[in-house]
Symmetry: C2
């Protein structure tokens, strides 16, 4: 069987385009994920870099929970000081889920429960915002 | 020139892989963006669907500001009620920026200023969290 270079090129482009579309879809949390779970932690010892880093390391273990579409861990950014900005927290985690059921599965997942058990002595306050995405890119 | 089916398949897979890698990089805001700007709004008329939709439409205009790497607009999700969850807000926006300078450029951008001017009569309270990403996918 003979196949021309042009036919091969067309097949490669087709293969490439298909892969690009599907991977772009998978890589953008906002495209399919419909739920954002944003948690803020205030440490018992806010001045302790050791406690902060231990909490950050604990949060990093959560990435192995399969239902999490995207996970970011952060600290207050050095943006301009304004009355409307709350920069009093110490550590924050931001996660994307596809739906409510996946978020519930995350809450009950053994890795999440192990994280709470090993790190809850570090924080004095937790505040959670759950957001259903209604528009975006 | 003759090319075997196996060779063609290999070329397609190669083309596919290359496209997938480059598009994954471009499509994930968290990979390159280092700053999350999360804003919560409490409406003056929390029961008004008209006011809520007007605010959501106003927020949607922000997507044309070039420094925004990713923008999601949302409302409180119907997750389990828990003491640590604040679901009292009406509308929220979540944005990714590459750095502090881009976030400042957004604050000063004419489209942002026009949004504030046209929508600020709708809200009674705004609360902002700015997060510097220190770990994540």
């Amino acid at each position: 069987m003979e196949t021309s270079r042009r036919e091969i090129a067309a097949m490669i482009m087709l293969g490439g385009t298909g892969a690009a579309l599907s991977s772009a879809k998978a890589a953008t949390p906002a495209t399919e994920a419909k739920l954002v779970h944003h948690v803020f932690f205030w440490l018992k010892n806010p001045g302790s870099k050791v406690d902060r880093d231990q909490l950050i390391a604990g949060l990093a273990t959560l990435k192995d929970i399969p239902v999490i579409r995207s996970l970011q861990i952060g600290v207050p950014a050095s943006t301009e000081k304004r009355d409307v900005i709350d920069a009093s927290y110490d550590v924050t985690e931001l996660m994307y889920f596809d739906n409510l059921a996946d978020q519930k599965a995350y809450q009950d997942h053994p890795i999440h429960l192990a994280f709470v058990k090993s790190c809850e002595h570090l924080w004095q306050k937790v505040l959670v915002y759950d957001m259903e995405i209604v528009a975006g890119d």
